[in-house]
Symmetry: D2
Subunit: 155 residues, 4 copies
């Protein structure tokens, strides 16, 4: 079970704590954490997973493995820049979006497009042009986020 964590490469301490807990819970659920491999939300989540012995994968945008945060076990070097975002989404059975900027928004869009369930923790508010809310599963805690992701992956 590969669960994606998407979020910005810089983040506040508060968001970092949420990401750390999400990473921890993913590892405790015996799932593999997949992310973009950089800093911020990605690094905090990987750190959380490693603290409890989890396995982490970073799908890196650049050409250098040194770009990976120190908690990435497996470094996939794409050299594709932001086009790598879709690989993170496709390789996940569910993605957990934590806060996030425009890159995260592109990943949420790809996930909804491809039918990959999106769990949202303090993330984007999105309405279509006819004012319909998007099918993002909104949660309030890291524990709930991972619980929902695991449930989505088992369907």
């Amino acid at each position: 079970m590969q669960i994606g964590v998407i979020g910005a490469s810089t983040c506040s301490d508060e968001i970092g704590k949420l990401a750390f807990q999400v990473g921890r819970e993913i590892a405790k659920a015996q799932a593999i954490l997949i992310c973009g491999g950089l800093g911020g939300v990605m690094e905090a989540a990987c750190r959380g997973a490693k603290e409890v012995g989890g396995l982490t994968i970073g799908i890196l945008p650049g050409a250098r493995q040194e770009d990976a945060n120190p908690f990435v076990d497996i470094k996939i070097i794409t050299g594709l820049s932001y086009a790598r975002n879709i690989i993170v989404v496709r390789s996940s059975c569910a993605v957990i979006a934590i806060s996030g900027g425009y890159g995260t928004l592109s990943e949420i869009a790809y996930a909804l497009n491809l039918g990959v369930p999106v769990i949202g923790l303090n993330t984007w508010e999105l309405k279509s042009q006819n004012h319909k809310e998007l099918p993002i599963i909104r949660v309030d805690t890291p524990w709930e986020a991972v619980k929902k992701a695991v449930e989505a992956c088992m369907k």
Copy 2:
């Protein structure tokens, strides 16, 4: 000047008419129309551009040039599936989003991320997690959309 048109591969007649007018105005402004090369909004826009002698480029997701709508002059065959979305955005000095689904949303996100101006015609409503509106230039008519796009490209 390469102006992007982004929107869904199927659309209502009403949206198709808007896209047709956008394509027409792009060609009349002597700009090149760039899009994803498929049906719906993309086809209507290309048809509009060709009616007044414009040049159209389709960045196709699949591996077959037959996938292009009949109004595409230059067919760029990527074989990259939806990862081609970012190429449409990067190759445009501004993008006009017309209505649109999740694919369009991913393109809007990429454009905002890369600093490519986004003109919105009846498109997504988006707010960040702190309730801020996104910097999409909202317009009401195809004429205004192309005028704003040309202005953005000339900056």
Copy 3:
């Protein structure tokens, strides 16, 4: 008809002259020249095409349109680094390989893999592990190269 020209981004004067003539002949055959958009063989070919009023397309590896040589009309900005090589091949009905380095070799391999005819002008010698020559159409002059490419495209 979109004919690809593949070759290195730096080249000798002698190879540059061949590329220039190839570009010229492509334009005279009313075909569109497609290439990687950078210097060397690509620039010389584009310059040849523009001298006789042809249309040129550059599929750029980087994120900046300034990377294009000055003879590229249409700039496709991929940001995909060398992964853009396959787009040059897929978008061509035949490719003309002029001398070339490892990047050109990757494009020849992709073309043979995808069934895109390869015309070779002073290019790689390749034998499979069982010593069979590869199906590259070897020619000695730019005129012959474009003649063979046009023939292949019309099949």
Copy 4:
């Protein structure tokens, strides 16, 4: 240490045996095996690695995780078709080419271009246009192949 194995998605029994031994030796060297995730050489190598408890990664060209051979642990779903070849190469500190077709040739070319050491086991014969042999490290056995790959990775 991530070592790449490149080769065709169908192969003879004899080549399959070589690939199996290569996979086994990679795992015994405590390295992670990375490959394109499909059948033939890739499957045989993954099977060899799993037999001795190794970890295997498949960088899949398509959009479905079912395309992976049954011995792939971590499935990276790219949806990029053959453009994924460069990701296999970039993510490896050395690649072992076993026999192989045109896809393998594109990967050898990318590796030489990017400076990733290539170990060749019964693979392509390549000469540049000036008749120089390419810098492929030729070996005769799976043991020697993995030994050379490990050495290259440790430099």
